[in-house]
């Protein structure tokens, strides 16, 4: 059971609205987003429920939900929302706020998703470009799922789908500067 009215002021709502530029209060719970979302059934709470939970100020549940990690930003929901709420922006805002406040969803699936993005960004930091073979291999190593897609790899390599070498960006300095700036700006939010 959730007891309402005893909490402090709902800062979650104001934080999410401010960061996303959307107004969660406009949501009237029609559920069109839920049946639109291609991954809603993988989510702890589908978008409609996340909206209501933000309104209720259930910060911990919202920040720890896997929903924001599963959002593909395909924008199908916002394109159909009768109130034109930018739902992907809301999902992204929640994810960023949770990251900044060090809320971590510990489920294996979210870990895998996060790891993928970490590896991907790492690679860009190093080379300025992405490198698919390395991405697959590193992801498998870091998620300890060594043989995932191993059946695909030979065909893909054989067909020249996945190159062995990558041509890095020459201006490595510019790339590094961008990453530093991003870190600094994120620190500022905290």
């Amino acid at each position: 059971m959730i007891t309402l009215g005893l909490q402090e002021k709902n800062t979650l709502l104001t934080d999410v609205n401010k960061r996303s530029g959307a107004n969660v209060l406009e949501c009237y719970q029609c559920g069109k987003c839920v049946s639109t979302c291609p991954v809603s059934n993988f989510m702890d709470f589908p978008p409609r429920e996340i909206m209501q939970m933000v309104k209720l100020g259930l910060k911990e549940q919202v920040y720890l939900a896997n929903s924001t990690w599963f959002c593909l930003t395909c924008s199908a929901c916002s394109g159909r929302c009768p109130r034109e709420i930018e739902i992907p922006a809301v999902m992204e805002a929640i994810r960023h706020l949770a990251l900044e406040e060090n809320y971590t969803n510990k489920s294996a699936k979210v870990k895998a998703i996060r790891k993928f993005h970490d590896i991907f960004l790492d690679m860009i930091r190093r080379y300025g470009r992405s490198y698919e073979l390395r991405l697959m291999v590193e992801h498998n190593i870091r998620t300890r799922d060594l043989f995932k897609d191993v059946m695909l790899a030979p065909t893909a390599l054989l067909k020249g789908k996945i190159p062995l070498l990558v041509k890095p960006v020459k201006s490595a300095k510019a790339i590094r500067r961008m990453f530093k700036m991003a870190e600094k700006l994120e620190q500022k939010h905290k």
């Binding site: 009237y28 029609c30 559920g31 069109k32 839920v34 049946s35 639109t36 109130r83």
Partner: protein, 657 residues
């Protein structure tokens, strides 16, 4: 020496929360001419008015300032209080410290208070220059014009005519009856729409006090309340109604088939047609867009088969004029076109239809003999999905408001499907069930229990085709799961939108309309049938979406208002009108050009006392002048003055701050 009384109203919290009312009273007391100032919670209430009446006598006041809401709201109330105390009512001035101060400056009480004090100061200064004025009497033409012959127009016309007041009823299409004539049964009683409507249609046609003008449009409306003049275009019907017996030989033989509007285009009618068998008048017209005799000069069959020789291909539109005293606008509604719902495949999938199309199919006199069928293959559907709020409550694609009637007619449709198709099942996707009305919630409950319809709470997100079925996907928020319904037919409850001709008609009549195109009532609560223009009233969906009971109630209310205007032989009118000082008038006639009411004419007067030479000067028609002041502003010789807004009054106001 002027002795002014100032009465400042709290308006409950409306003013008092944002304006320091006692401070305004104190400010007023500092004005030399103010001999009495007081505040009160509700100045418009009887005890409030009593204070005004008492103060007038006790303090021998010469003019009154009430600082309260807009004069549009209560000026009349306070004027009456003055009269009751034996004072000329036009010695009242209202300082609008609610709409002009407290409501618009809610964030700064100090500034709002200062502004309120300024408004009071101006009103006091103006009132000192107020003169005693007296109401004007104008004659009244006792005839009403009703625009639109749907159930709203029919009801209004019958009620007015029953009071023995002549009515001119103008209908755009060839028959009266409107949307209600297209309905099968009506909620919440399921009585047959035709059975309750068609007798009223016949009453209209046979009523000695009603002049029915079908297939016609109002082109112009000049004048003012009690004295309007309407120009009406009778469209050429190419059929002489006087000789036509309505035998039907013409339309039976006509070779040109076009989509039948009455049946939502599901079947065809002919180029010469009566809209439906129970039409009033039951006389055909030729649709000039399609008749090949009129477009290409070929055919002429209808003329050949008409035994009475009633067909006249040379008939022209005719303009007629009627003098009238009041107008009821009853133009009805249109249905929203669901094309923007691309995710539903609207326009691509034939088996998605609108509710009115469904209504025609289940109608006993409909194109499919009362049984719904799939437009794609003509099969009778078993699983029917009804989707509510199509366009309604959808800012992205349609309109923001709730269309009010869809919940109820969809409930009715589940019952009709249940009755007409054995073994059928209804699925209803809804957001809320809005069943506020007498017997409505009971109707919904009975329908749900009797039909076993499956209600799913959620907006449908997608429809796609699988084989010959339509897959309808939505969330059932009650169980938090996404569901897909295999549908044979999908029925969209499309939103009610204003008649698309409303904005043009509103401009022509001189009444205002809102952002959607609904005509605006004078006050959303207290004057729901009047417009801001005196003598023009609104009935039915012209003003907002409404069901039949509400529409009929509003139409009867219009009739009562019209009868009120016609209660005496003359009408009282505010004396705030312009007068011309002939001595100063140079006869330039600028005022004649700017007057929006055509109230200024010219007359010849002698050049001087006893002179035989004449000169032209302006003359105001008292009955027509609405006191807008345009003539005053353009008059270069300052010969025109507007009672209640004279130069000394206005200058006093300006000087006071």
């Amino acid at each position: 020496m002027a002795r002014v009384g100032v009465f400042v109203c709290f308006c409950g919290a409306n003013i008092a929360d944002f304006v320091d009312v006692p401070a305004v009273v104190e400010e007023a007391k500092r004005i030399r001419e103010v001999k009495f100032a007081i505040d009160y919670k509700y100045m418009c209430s009887d005890p409030g008015q009593q204070q005004i009446r008492d103060a007038i006598v006790q303090h021998r006041l010469t003019s009154i300032v009430v600082a309260a809401c807009s004069p549009r709201m209560h000026e009349k109330t306070f004027r009456k209080a003055l009269s009751d105390a034996g004072m000329n009512p036009y010695l009242l001035e209202v300082a609008n410290i609610r709409e002009h101060s407290s409501w618009v400056h809610q964030k700064d009480k100090k500034a709002a208070t200062a502004k309120a004090a300024d408004l009071v100061r101006m009103a006091v200064a103006k009132s000192i220059a107020n003169e005693q004025l007296h109401e004007i009497s104008v004659p009244v033409t006792k005839r009403a014009l009703v625009i639109g012959g749907g159930i709203a127009g029919i009801q209004a016309a019958l009620d007015i005519a029953d009071a023995r007041i002549p009515v001119v009823l103008v209908e755009k299409s060839p028959s009266i009856g409107g949307k209600m004539a297209q309905l099968d049964e009506t909620f919440p009683t399921l009585d047959c729409s035709q059975c309750i409507l068609t007798p009223k249609m016949v009453d209209v046609a046979s009523h000695p006090y009603i002049e029915l003008i079908p297939y016609a449009e109002v082109l112009e409306l000049d004048g003012f309340v009690g004295n309007y003049k309407a120009k009406i275009k009778k469209k050429a019907s190419y059929v002489n109604f006087k000789t036509c017996t309505g035998c039907g030989a013409c339309w039976q033989k006509c070779p040109v088939k076009v989509p039948n509007e009455y049946n939502m285009g599901i079947d065809k009618r002919k180029a010469i047609y009566t809209p439906f068998p129970q039409a009033v008048p039951n006389k055909p017209v030729i649709d000039a867009r399609y008749c090949t005799m009129l477009t290409k000069g070929k055919c002429g069959i209808c003329s050949k088969v008409c035994e009475k020789g009633s067909i006249d291909y040379k008939m022209q539109d005719e303009i007629i004029e009627r003098e009238i005293g009041a107008v009821v606008v009853a133009t009805g509604y249109d249905l929203w076109d669901p094309k923007p719902y691309e995710e539903y495949g609207v326009g691509r999938f034939k088996d998605i239809i609108t509710s009115l199309e469904f209504e025609r199919m289940v109608s006993a006199n409909g194109p499919t003999n009362g049984v719904p069928v799939r437009p794609s293959d003509g099969k009778v559907p078993k699983n029917v999905v009804f989707i509510k709020c199509i366009g309604s409550r959808d800012e992205a694609k349609g309109i923001e408001y709730c269309s009010k009637i869809c919940c109820m007619y969809t409930t009715k449709h589940t019952i009709l499907l249940h009755h007409k198709v054995h073994g059928s099942h209804s699925y209803v996707f809804y957001m809320d069930i809005r069943a506020a009305g007498k017997g409505y919630e009971e109707f919904v409950k009975k329908a749900q229990v009797d039909t076993g319809a499956t209600y799913l709470r959620g907006r449908v997100s997608k429809i796609y085709k699988k084989g010959d079925k339509l897959m309808v996907r939505g969330e059932d928020a009650q169980i938090g799961q996404v569901v897909e319904v295999e549908a044979d037919l999908v029925v969209l409850a499309t939103a009610v939108v204003p008649n698309k001709d409303n904005p043009d008609l509103a401009r022509l009549l001189g009444v205002s309309y809102d952002k959607y195109g609904y005509m605006s009532e004078a006050h959303p609560k207290l004057r729901p049938v009047e417009t801001a223009k005196a003598g023009i009233f609104l009935a039915g969906c012209t003003q907002a979406p409404k069901d039949i009971p509400d529409t009929v109630a509003q139409a009867s209310a219009c009739a009562a208002k019209v009868c009120g205007i016609f209660a005496g032989d003359t009408m009282k009118k505010d004396p705030m009108i312009s007068t011309v000082n002939k001595e100063f008038c140079s006869g330039c006639q600028n005022c004649v050009t700017v007057c929006p009411y055509g109230a200024i004419v010219t007359e010849e007067v002698p050049m001087g006392h006893g002179s035989k030479e004449m000169r032209t000067v302006a003359k105001i028609n008292e009955g027509v002048c609405q006191g807008c002041g345009s003539c005053v502003a353009v008059c270069r010789s300052m010969a025109i003055s507007l009672a209640g807004f004279t130069d000394p009054q206005i200058i006093n106001e300006i000087v006071s701050i």
